[in-house]
Amino acid sequence: MKIAITAQNDRLDAEIDPRFGRCAYFIIFDTITKQFEAIQNPNQDARSGAGIQAGQFMIEKGIKKVLTGKVGPNAERVLKSAGIDIVTDLKKTVKEAIQSVE
């Protein structure tokens, strides 16, 4: 299963970025292969629709679960429609967030 964690930089020991749509990086972690990939969020400074695009991006990447601080109402509509699990209020590091759901 592929999960996405919003991160403040591109490493596993990065702190969670509390914003979903406007996070600095998405860390995409495969719970089977234990491999990860860090992708800079192209919509971090978008004028509007950042959350919608982030949600669309999760669908394209085949993500099944999102770990973050807070998800806005528009992004939530997109994620829920695609059946993606949302885990919010995470505060520690990406690594600890992954351990908490594995």
């Binding site: 509007s48 919608i52 669309q56 669908i59 429609s81 695609a82």
Partner: protein
Amino acid sequence: MIISIASGKGGTGKTMIAVSLAFSLSGATSKAVQLLDCDVEEPNAHIFVRPKISQKTPVSVLIPKIDKNRCNLCGRCAQICVYHALAVTTQEVLTFPELCHSCGACSYLCPQNAISEIEKKIGYIEKGDRDTLSFVHGKLNIGEMLAVPVIKAVKKYIDPFKINVVDSPPGTSCPVIETVHRSDFCVLVTEPTPFGLNDLILAIAAIRKLHIPFGVIINRCDLGNQETENYCQREKIPILLKIPFKKEIALAYSKGIPLIEAFPEYKPIFQRIYKLIENTKT
């Protein structure tokens, strides 16, 4: 004649000036006078004008509607939309009407012909009178983001045979540009503080790009510092009027009494400003 009243900074006195100018001219010239409040997110001029509203018209925009029987979730619409007003999930196409700019691209380019456009009400226009003064304002519904379509609807009431005084929202963004566009003259209202000057300079940059002649009114002129006046002199910008900071002005204003009603001595001053503007135009 179209005279817009704008400012960079908010709260400098645009509405006070717009209402005063309109009331000073109404009935005093051969031309009919009309006040149009384009600050559709928070129109306030009506508080001072107290018009008798005779007409209320809704303002609508077009938004996409998805025909689920035709849609095959190809995702083209979401790729096209630069405003991100559509998202295509594994189940459906989601629309976000508050982000839609009604460009129609999704409907036009959908390979399945699955998108039609439907009307959505985002606000309304009210038209009325107070004695000889005609009055129009627009109101954007709470929660709506696009002020420009409502401002455009207000501006449709501009009558080239009248003197049109147009009250603008603050700032320098799209709603302001839409409001002042095609004005014959723009009055920029500021206050002589560092914040007021900073935002005045931004507003002037925008007005100059639109090639609109303009002048400055300095409100609460005895507060702050000399920098705003120095700037106007350096840039050869006419200072049309300086209004001192007076408790009595604020008191009357807080009761919804227009400046020229509480202080009739301002009436000829505003009439002179109009003459000056008229001469600038020709």
